[in-house]
């Protein structure tokens, strides 16, 4: 699948509400099996499929949890 955009979740700012997973039209976000410092399974990018639509950003209630790079991002 072509990857146009890129999204990332700061695992320590995610409260695991799952709204971004629900909103993602490309189904490219999932819950992590890890438990973060707040005690939740945070959301995480599956690694491919992001089209940079920003839906996850606008459904996320936490100000510091999600960043969307619409034109993609160089991943090391």
């Amino acid at each position: 699948m072509p990857t146009k955009g890129y999204m990332e979740v700061d695992p320590n700012h995610c409260k695991g509400c799952g709204l971004c997973i629900e909103a993602c039209p490309e189904d490219c976000i999932e819950f992590s099996s890890e438990i973060n410092r707040l005690g939740y399974h945070p959301a995480r990018y599956k690694g491919e499929g992001c089209i940079g639509c920003g839906f996850c950003f606008y459904t996320c209630p936490e100000p510091n949890a999600i960043t969307v790079y619409k034109k993609g991002k160089e991943v090391a």
Partner: protein, 476 residues
Amino acid sequence: MAKDILSTPKSFYKEFFRKPDADKTNTHYCPGCGHGVIHKLLAEAIEDFGIADRTIIISPVGCSVFAYYYFDTGNVQVAHGRAPAVATGLKRANPNSIVISYQGDGDLAAIGGNNILQAANRGENITVIFVNNAIYGMTGGQMAPTTLIGQKTTTTPYGRAAANEGYPIRICELLSALSGPVYLARGAITDPATIMKTRLAIRKAIKAQMDYKGFSLVEILSPCPSGWRMTPVEAKKWVKEQMVKIFPLGTFKDETKEREPIAYEKREYTKEEIKQALGLDKEAPHFSHSMDDVKPIWRNPKIKISGFGGQGVLLLGNTLAEAGMEQGYHVSWIPSYGPEMRGGTANCHVQISTSEIASPVVDHPSILVAMNLPSLDRFEDDVVPGGLIIYNTSLVTRAPKRTDIESIPIPATDIADKLGSLKVANMVVLGAIIEKTGIVTEEAAISALNTVVKHKKFIPLNIEAIKSGREYVRNL
């Protein structure tokens, strides 16, 4: 959406330094709470408009009481439901500021119902973000005015019944009946498309204020997963499937194009004008006086003055307090009266003291003035032993029963009548107080009259009454 990177809006604080717990970068909101999303939309709009340095956000009572943790703007937290009133004051004091009142449904539609109605009707140039989650979230999920019929809350455990609790209040529809508002819209934060519509509505509302067009309000249907006992995803679905049926989305009023901008009268006040308005432009009068010259029992007196409303009971107290102040003392004066302007009972508590006054309430007066019989009946027993009762024998038909107090009978109303006005009976009594106790001087009292009496033409008669009262007591 011109930005390539979507991340934390700049009009949020980088660190939420006001938040008392250790976690300074997360919100205090529950997972899936609508407030977080609405905060984000609002913060983004403020950033994009470049208005953060002139925006004041009003935090209400409710979960968003701590909105001031997050927004790097001016912040005020106000009493329950009173945000529109405070917003009015802020806006009128500085019409160039952008005032955003952030309120929930309990705050806005219940306790603050009339506040929002009047502010909207005045067309105040403010923006209200009205977060409707159909419940009292912060206090644990009680019924709100916006609770749906059949919705179970902690106070409607069998579901809201119209027969018992009435119907959900539709604020947008209600306000759209008024002429004042310029922009009214209802959005929701459910699916991304609806969120984006709400995002635009918020921007439109703020823009209306920036263009001086008048009152704007955006109602936002918002999930409360904790209060509704649902998962965040279920809660969003419930907004979409249940709330939207009762609270249809859309624009209810938009006169942003037609409406002329409000013209504010620009007025700058000079220091001198402010001083003059506050009465600080003149040097305060000062009269020398020593409490040492007063009999110990009346030093730093606690005075209660009581009578019918209309007998000038409050004015007498006010004059005493003002005179005490002009003698350099700490004073207090509090009135206590019924709803009637005349004919009811009124009393006031006055203290004049060489030291600071902790409480203005006088339960046990050292000086009691009884202008009528009910006052003597009611307060005689409260006077401290050795205290003084001055009673108006024109209306009080008995002498005090107490033997451990001093009393002065004075036909104040009759004396006043002879002077030409029943209304100066209070000043006759003031004369009696001056003559008997010396707690204030005649000079200070006359000076005080100039401050407390509105119509200066009555001052000579008042002075005459004071002198008559003194003379009567002197000849007793």
